[in-house]
């Protein structure tokens, strides 16, 4: 007898997508000065969802001036307690509209509704609640007796967690008294535009949050605008480097959260079944479009065979398909461009002699998809062990001793996250001390909490988001002034 799960789609009619959107500047949706626009599509069907404005230099200038004016007149001088009221209101509105926002996120991004509903949206609300709580307690946060906001923050976010990255950026900025101009990713602008509507619903004073849609050029104009005091960027290491170059010699404060090539390290005494779950969650969560994804599996050679066998068996049960179906585990790749990048790196893995295995799942005819894929026989010398693939592709490497595990885990230009799987508590501490990664998970992976700081070492960037540490990116202390 086979247990066929009948289709269980979440209702698309929960969202009302306009045929076109303007730019959200100074509390209003306005047309871009030069009238540019681009289309955003559903990656699972290639259907055009809406037409979105492309902000040019004049629009960026308008938005930064609106943010400056709101900072000087309203938001900067406002008491922390009053700022908290707005943030709590936004958090509650996000909860109330979470089903709608989850569907919107899934339509625009391609991620499974199970993840947008159970992971993204609860965390988005949690980030606003958490930072709302800080707004009137900043003098107790360890940044001196009188920490002040920085001013206008330019924030550029990626497409992998559109609304969650927005929350990571906007919630601490606003809690600390800054105003923001935020640019969502070109392929996933819709949830940020829905957030603009939430700001209006919450009666947030005009200009405190401005949302500019556009591509890379809009982002460049924004971060290079002289009226910006602080730049926060999450995205690729290449773009991060160019932002750092442009900020050099200015007084702009900068935080960068960039790429990663995290090692998930499985020792021979690990709880194997849960470790396999952790590997699946580490690299196949959100189709592997996760900067802290556990894309390198480092497994102790003595258990490598059984771990890989268990992993393949488990991957055979993953359900790839319609992201709106509540039983889908693997959704669509966000864009044709990203799919091409994944294809190219996978090809390099094959060409360089690693063994490719892909889960046997049917690929839908339309849209952009990639099956969960595992490479075995990978060494440090393979490109797929060094470069960020940002897709559902795992590279399996082996090690013999704990020292070797640390060496291999650290042997990467990145340093965002790492995972350790062992039943031995002392070894967890020993490893965590030596791993050069901003986040180290033990016997779990891809766990997030607004109270826990997140950020990288080396080419994964600098600065922390979340927790008391994350507030520092949006505050200036006595010495800093």
């Amino acid at each position: 007898m086979t247990f066929e799960y009948a289709p269980a789609p979440e209702s698309r009619s929960l969202v009302d997508i306009a045929s076109s959107y303007g730019l959200f500047i100074d509390g209003e949706f306005t047309e871009p000065v030069d009238g540019g626009s681009f289309k955003t599509t559903n990656p699972a069907t290639e259907e055009v969802l809406s037409e979105v404005s492309e902000a040019g230099a004049d629009d960026v200038d308008r938005a930064v001036r609106a943010a400056r004016s709101a900072y000087e007149r309203v938001w900067g001088p406002m008491s922390g307690r009053d700022r908290a009221k707005y943030l709590f209101r936004i958090a509650r509105l996000i909860q109330e509209r979470s089903r709608e926002l989850a569907v919107l996120e899934t339509l625009d991004n391609g991620k499974p509704i199970r993840e947008s509903r159970d992971v993204d949206l609860p965390l988005v609300a949690a980030h606003f609640f958490y930072h709302a709580g800080w707004a009137d307690k900043l003098e107790h946060a360890g940044y001196g007796p009188d920490p002040r906001p920085i001013g206008v923050a330019a924030q550029v976010i990626p497409w992998n967690f559109p609304l969650l990255m927005l929350a990571w950026k906007i919630a601490p900025a606003l809690a600390c008294g800054n105003t923001v101009v935020l640019k969502p990713a070109e392929t996933t602008p819709l949830s940020a535009l829905a957030f603009a509507d939430i700001c209006r619903q919450a009666d947030l004073p005009p200009g405190v949050v401005n949302i500019l849609t556009g591509a890379g050029e809009t982002g460049r104009l924004l971060v290079e605008h002289p009226g910006v005091d602080k730049v926060a960027f999450t995205g690729s290491t290449d773009v991060g480097k160019s932002i750092m170059r442009s900020a050099a010699g200015t007084s702009k404060r900068l935080t960068l959260e960039l790429g990663g090539k995290a090692a998930n390290v499985i020792f021979d005494d690990a709880p194997i079944d849960q470790a396999v779950e952790g590997v699946v969650n580490g690299i196949f969560f959100n189709q592997g479009h996760v900067c802290c994804a556990g894309s390198r599996l480092l497994v102790q050679e003595s258990v490598a065979e059984e771990v890989v066998a268990s992993l393949k068996r488990r991957l055979g049960t993953l359900r790839l398909g319609d992201p709106l179906d509540k039983n889908t585990d693997i959704g669509a790749i966000n864009s044709a461009a990203q799919l091409a990048r994944i294809d190219a790196l996978v090809k390099s893995g094959e060409d360089e002699g690693a063994d490719r295995w892909s889960a046997p799942c049917a690929i839908p005819e339309r849209g952009w998809w990639f099956p969960p894929t595992v490479f075995t026989g990978v060494t440090q010398a393979h490109r797929i062990a060094r470069e960020e693939i940002f897709g559902p592709v795992l590279s399996v490497l082996t090690f013999r001793t704990p020292d070797e595990a640390v060496e291999k885990a650290n042997n990467t230009p990145y340093g965002l996250s790492a995972g350790i799987w062992t039943e031995k508590g002392s070894r967890i501490l020993w490893m965590a001390e030596r791993l050069r990664a901003g986040v180290v998970w033990a016997n779990t992976f891809n766990r997030f909490d607004p109270a826990s700081p997140f950020g990288g070492y080396k080419e994964s960037g600098f600065g922390r988001e979340g927790g008391v540490q994350g507030l520092g990116a949006y505050l200036t202390t006595e010495e800093g002034r």
Binding site: F3, D118, P271, Q274, E277, E306, K326
Partner: protein, 311 residues
């Protein structure tokens, strides 16, 4: 995981080394996995299939001091025809009673459903091996074709695995051709590491089924415990080729819960286990909820407790 270990012999040292060499179970991870599978959305045709499958897997149970022949006869009638208004409703898998009522049950059900008897000084298991064996033999002689035995949890927790093992072997022998379900009473074993070890111990000793609970101890069956037992069954199958069944007993009262267990089975051991020969629910009140949901799917509206029988 793939267990690539040569299986132990029955000597105390060998059993101990083997059981302690099994990979640990991370409780947080196991709970998270069971919870994630609990979010599967089973609707329409899938739900109808799951409800009928679940009805066919029920061991309809009464294990009370106040059980009488009348009560058992009534329950057996229900086991045969769970929903008298709809003859397409499948029969349950078995009825489960105390040993002294096996004859009464067999008289009513004939060969149409299995008759399971709890034996071996159920539920505590605190009796001599001789008493347990006589308990078992009498139930089989009275017509039970399935025996639900309890393990000696005291011996297990004291580390005397060989004693537990040898008792199961002896009871299995006393069962003759009757199927043996071994109750681990996971609510008393407490840790998932213990659940995994006890599962292996029972399978090595010859269990046909491993069963979570007596229903007399709380917590009884839970999704994480059942997950770990299913993983053990899966790994045992890979190591030996044998198919061992799992019975989740106690605490499963709603169709929604039952369907979550079927998902757990489906995505842990695969659909080969989605048969009453390899998966059972030990329950009394679950059946009526399954029947109510079945009626609702058929008619499009909810009826109520007066539209299912109370036996």
């Amino acid at each position: 995981m793939t267990v690539d270990l040569s299986l132990p012999d029955a000597s105390p040292g060998s059993l101990r080394r083997f059981l302690h060499g099994l990979p640990g179970v991370d409780e947080v991870g196991a709970q998270a996995r069971a919870a994630a599978l609990g979010t599967r959305s089973i609707k329409t045709t899938a739900k109808a299939w799951a409800i009928d499958t679940a009805i066919g897997m029920v061991d309809l149970t009464t294990l009370e001091g106040m059980d009488t022949p009348g009560k058992v006869r009534a329950m057996c009638a229900k086991a045969l025809r769970p929903d008298p208004t709809d003859p397409t409703t499948p029969s349950v898998a078995a009825v489960c009673v105390y040993g002294d009522l096996v004859g009464v049950a067999r008289e009513v059900v004939g060969d149409a459903v299995h008759v399971a008897a709890v034996a071996t000084a159920f539920p505590s298991g605190r009796a001599s091996l001789d008493v347990k064996l006589i308990d078992t033999k009498e139930a089989v002689a009275a017509g039970a074709d399935e025996i639900d035995m309890v393990i000696d949890r005291g011996a297990f927790l004291a580390g005397d695995y060989a004693l537990v093992h040898d008792e199961i072997v002896a009871v299995k022998q006393a069962c003759g051709s009757a199927h043996l379900k071994v109750i681990l009473e996971t609510g008393e074993l407490r840790t998932l590491d213990n659940v995994r070890r006890a599962s292996w111990l029972a399978m090595l000793a010859g269990a046909d089924f491993i069963k979570t609970s007596t229903g007399k101890i709380s917590p009884a069956a839970t999704p994480p415990v059942t997950l770990v037992m299913l993983e053990a069954v899966r790994d045992f199958h890979e190591a030996t080729g044998q198919l061992i069944g799992v019975k989740a007993a106690g605490g499963i009262r709603t169709s929604k819960d039952a369907i979550k267990y079927l998902v757990l089975v489906n995505e842990t051991v695969g659909d080969a286990w989605l048969t009453p020969d390899l998966f059972r629910f030990g329950a009394s009140t679950l059946l009526n909820d399954l029947l109510l949901q079945r009626q609702r799917l058929a008619t499009g509206h909810y009826s109520g407790p007066d539209y299912v029988t109370i036996d």
